[in-house]
């Protein structure tokens, strides 16, 4: 993860927020029998297994739910540096690999990737939310004094680009500024809202 621009003392919380968001979104996706990973299929249950699950009181969806132990083990762990770990830890890791197939070992279950492999990505919805968490953390670098000499739209967006990232679109910079109460109020105080 690129946390450049985020003060060091804010990074642990940003990492925790991102980890929790991923867990929440992955569980939601799996409950809908969909992969949260770009390009991944999510095969339906075969007829016999579906009938078995339904007879036992479960839904007929491929939602990776039976005892619940595996999904309960999906968790986030902070690591050193700017990385986090999200995975199925402990005794459930082997069971999860039976679905994710990161190890390459084959079994009788189809691949259902609830997490991306090293060369894969989460879907756009999750990636965008992660980007927004990182952007919002950068707003703590905001310095109202930087607004004093701003008189044009270009100057304002140049500053917002320095704050949130030069590669962000003006639309995204605008929304990032508006998500911050401090920045919104400062823009209003300095009569710069109309330049946004």
């Amino acid at each position: 993860m690129d946390l450049t621009g985020i003060p060091q003392n804010k990074r642990p919380q940003v990492k925790q927020d991102i980890g929790e968001l991923i867990v929440e979104k992955v569980l939601s996706s799996v409950a809908a029998a969909k992969s949260p990973v770009v390009g991944e299929d999510w095969p339906k249950l075969n007829k016999e297994y579906k009938a078995k699950k339904v007879s036992e009181g479960f839904s007929g969806k491929a939602d990776l739910e039976e005892s619940g132990d595996m999904l309960n083990a999906l968790a986030t762990k902070n690591t050193r540096g700017d990385n986090i770990k999200v995975g199925f830890f402990g005794s459930q890791a082997l069971k999860a690999d039976g679905h994710l197939k990161f190890s390459g070992k084959q079994n009788h279950t189809p691949q259902r990737r609830a997490l991306p492999a090293v060369d894969q990505q989460f879907n756009e919805d999750i990636e965008q939310d992660i980007d927004k968490i990182i952007q919002d953390a950068k707003s703590s670098n905001f310095d109202e004094n930087q607004l004093k000499d701003i008189t044009t739209k270009e100057q304002l967006y140049d500053y917002l680009g320095e704050l949130f990232g030069d590669d962000e679109s003006r639309h995204d910079l605008r929304l990032a500024a508006l998500r911050s109460e401090e920045i919104s109020q400062a823009l209003a105080d300095n009569d710069l809202m109309d330049l946004l």
Binding site: E20, L21, E24, S28, D63, G68, D129, L178
Partner: protein
């Protein structure tokens, strides 16, 4: 030595009025309620730190080889009710009653029908059932990261739309 005062101006009056209008708040409130309900439907608490809801008693009994407990006990009347996900949904009356009721000053979210509110309180507080938190109504609690993100996004988008006028 100079003397400087700063006068804090509010964001344009029409923008503040627009943000506090019942129609804007209703739109935001409805989207937040939809997200809360969607999360509950997946078996997750909308309250940060509470994760997935505890399993129903039939799941616990199943581990011991018994086919009894809730929701088996209600499946004759509600054949669609399954062991998983744990979604606080039986007739749907309680979940349907969860609404946003904006009043201009704020956007209260909760249950207005007494019977449904009593059911919700039982789940939220763990009264005779396992605790399954529905709303962050205790001091220091907040919604999950995903729902909090949505609220911030909705406000930013509403503000953006009003500023463009």
């Amino acid at each position: 030595m100079g003397l400087k005062v700063k006068v804090s101006l509010p964001i344009r009056d029409d923008v503040v009025k627009g943000l506090n209008s019942v129609s804007t708040q209703k739109k935001i409130g409805n989207e937040v309620v939809a997200a809360i309900k969607a999360l509950i439907a997946t078996g997750q608490s909308p309250v940060r730190g509470f994760g997935r809801f505890e399993e129903y008693s039939a799941s616990r009994n199943r581990r011991q080889g018994k086919a009894s407990g809730y929701p088996f006990s209600v499946q004759r009347q509600f054949p669609g009710k399954k062991l998983k996900p744990v979604n606080l949904f039986l007739s749907g009356d309680m979940i349907d009653d969860l609404q946003a009721r904006p009043n201009g000053a704020s956007i209260p979210i909760g249950f207005s029908n007494k019977e449904q509110a009593d059911k919700a309180v039982k789940h939220n507080s763990g009264d005779k059932v396992p605790i399954r938190r529905i709303l962050p109504n205790h001091r220091g609690e907040e919604f999950t990261v995903g729902i909090t993100r949505l609220i911030r996004d909705l406000y930013a988008e509403a503000l953006n739309k009003l500023l463009k006028k």
